[in-house]
Symmetry: C2
Subunit: 339 residues, 2 copies
């Protein structure tokens, strides 16, 4: 164990699009472990779209990421030193360890660390299908869309960690699952590997009308549930095809993260089609995590829930990988390998 | 009783804004009353914004109004001839009698006619506060917004039959009620007569930002529930001031009835503020009518629910009055006096 470790802090806030210059890699000494604390060596860091929102100042649902402090982020790792009776070196844990190789956790605070069993579920999956993205998919689908067997569920960013899980959970409930993703490779993966009934390549469509026509073909009985990760003209197109009493779960609007306007073209469809629309943040619904993680973990252990991971090879590659994620360049869950 | 009566049919569909030339007044013979039928002399016709939507062709939540047929509309009146055992001449009834002086109802069909008690509630109120507009207000407020005491509820078109009732029902539940209406007279009425805590004259504000600033003053603790009758920049302004976990009931979007685009500027606020948005049509929720009419009728009988009515003096004046309603020229519930 070296006496120093690497971490990445937010150096400046983006003006429009984020860039690698907004981040700064630092080398800092390993901290001493105090009473009740646990030192964790992070094995994997999760990169997620929500981080882009935190880089902005101003009103959002969450506190902005402070400047010159370690970028927020979920991690899985291994306990290397513990002064808390519940944790021993070698324990595998999930936590919000941030963009760094080690993190010191105050294990006395409930929820800061969660021990995980890696006998049937790979460690990295606790950052994806059996972690925050999986529970996000579960909550939006099960609690907001609440689909009945035979209904049609559409999800955008369908090849991503959240979107891919939404479709597979919908299929497990007897629904028709239709994905929207960028490019033929992602669409082929969504259908051939994840088992969606159809996937539409939004890059092959110039606007909402063309996309709506493709949706009419892919969802011939209309759309009963929509899981939104993107916003903009994709949302407009889906709304044109929503059935009466359809439900839309708003999980993310990645197309507006740089501050560009993303108006909803036809809000009157909410009235005309008597839609229910609900925005949510999964961290505000901790009560569902046990039930959701139970289903997701059993599905992964039984190979009934598939996912793909993309690994950035080291912490220094995290900013580039994160910017690629925002542009949809990743394929499946974007992780950073730290060991 | 004359042998003929007047009715108004839809002569043509509007191209953009509706005009009086879209309607045609006809004189037709009184029909013979068949078995199970009831002939009703209509005393009052209700004019409502939803009728504008029916005048259009194309997809909406309801069938378009057929050309050359009597315009749809709610009426109250008196039975003049009955071949159904449940109805006798002199009975006061509510029904969808249309834009005409008489209507022949098939009383065998449940729900076509409803007898009403005019001993404590005026007949015309069954078209307003104790009728469809009242139940519309009740459903959106009680079932969608579901406000708690101490919360702030905002309603647009606050001086109208629906909006005025929303605010008074909210006040009865211990909420702060803030109206949005057009012009100082309407705003004074909303506050002084209906008892709202505040009312904003949207005509005094050039755009969503200015209106949002006024809302900040009128609703200093933010907005927990919004009852939407209008759409457009008023909706945009309200959304800027919605509290986390706020609820928005979409009842009408009168600003888009002529087909002009009314985009929602910042749909990402649904996510950022974790809003619930739901569109509804009260006729699809017949199960709530008894409970809602019970509360509304008791409030009117006890003078705890106030409303204002504007009467067009005859059926021939209905088209002009209807066009005025669409432009907000009416004050309170717009009715047509037929006797």
């Amino acid at each position: 164990m070296s006496n120093t470790y690497q971490r990445i802090v937010l150096a400046s806030r983006p003006d429009g699009e984020a860039s690698t210059s907004n981040f700064r890699l630092e080398n800092v000494p390993l901290p001493a472990v105090g009473d009740g604390q646990v030192l964790v060596r992070n094995h994997y860091l999760s990169l997620d779209p929500y981080m882009r929102g935190r880089m902005n100042d101003g009103k959002s649902y969450a506190q902005p990421q402070p400047l010159d402090q370690v970028m927020i982020g979920g991690t899985v790792g291994e306990v290397v030193e513990s002064k808390h009776p519940s944790y021993r070196p070698g324990d595998k844990v999930v936590g919000m360890g941030g963009w760094q190789q080690y993190h010191l956790a105050d294990a006395k605070q409930p929820g800061v660390l969660r021990k995980v069993d890696t006998s049937r579920v790979p460690l990295s999956a606790y950052l994806g299908a059996v972690g925050m993205p999986g529970v996000t998919a579960w909550y939006g689908l099960v609690r907001i869309i609440a689909p009945k067997a035979g209904e049609t569920v559409v999800v955008s960013a369908a090849s991503g960690a959240v979107g891919g899980t939404v479709g597979q959970l919908a299929k497990a409930r007897g629904c028709r699952a239709v994905g929207i993703a960028g490019g033929p490779d992602k669409c082929a993966y969504v259908v051939d590997e994840l088992g969606f009934d159809a996937c539409i390549d939004y890059k092959a469509h110039a606007g909402a009308k063309s996309l709506a026509a493709a949706l009419k073909e892919a969802a011939p009985n209309g759309i009963d549930g929509y899981f939104e990760n993107v916003g903009g003209s994709i949302l407009d197109a889906v709304m044109m095809r929503m059935n009466a009493f359809g439900r839309m779960a708003f999980c993310g609007m990645i197309s507006g993260y740089n501050g560009e306007p993303i108006p909803m073209a036809h809000p009157q469809l909410i009235l005309q089609s008597r839609l229910k629309v609900e925005g949510f943040i999964v961290s505000e619904h901790m009560d569902v995590w046990p039930e959701a993680l139970g289903e997701l973990g059993a599905m992964v252990a039984g190979s009934r829930l598939k996912y793909r991971e993309t690994f950035a090879p080291s912490l220094a590659d995290a900013p580039e990988a994160f910017l690629g994620l925002l542009k949809g360049r990743n394929f499946g869950k974007q992780l950073v390998k730290l060991v």
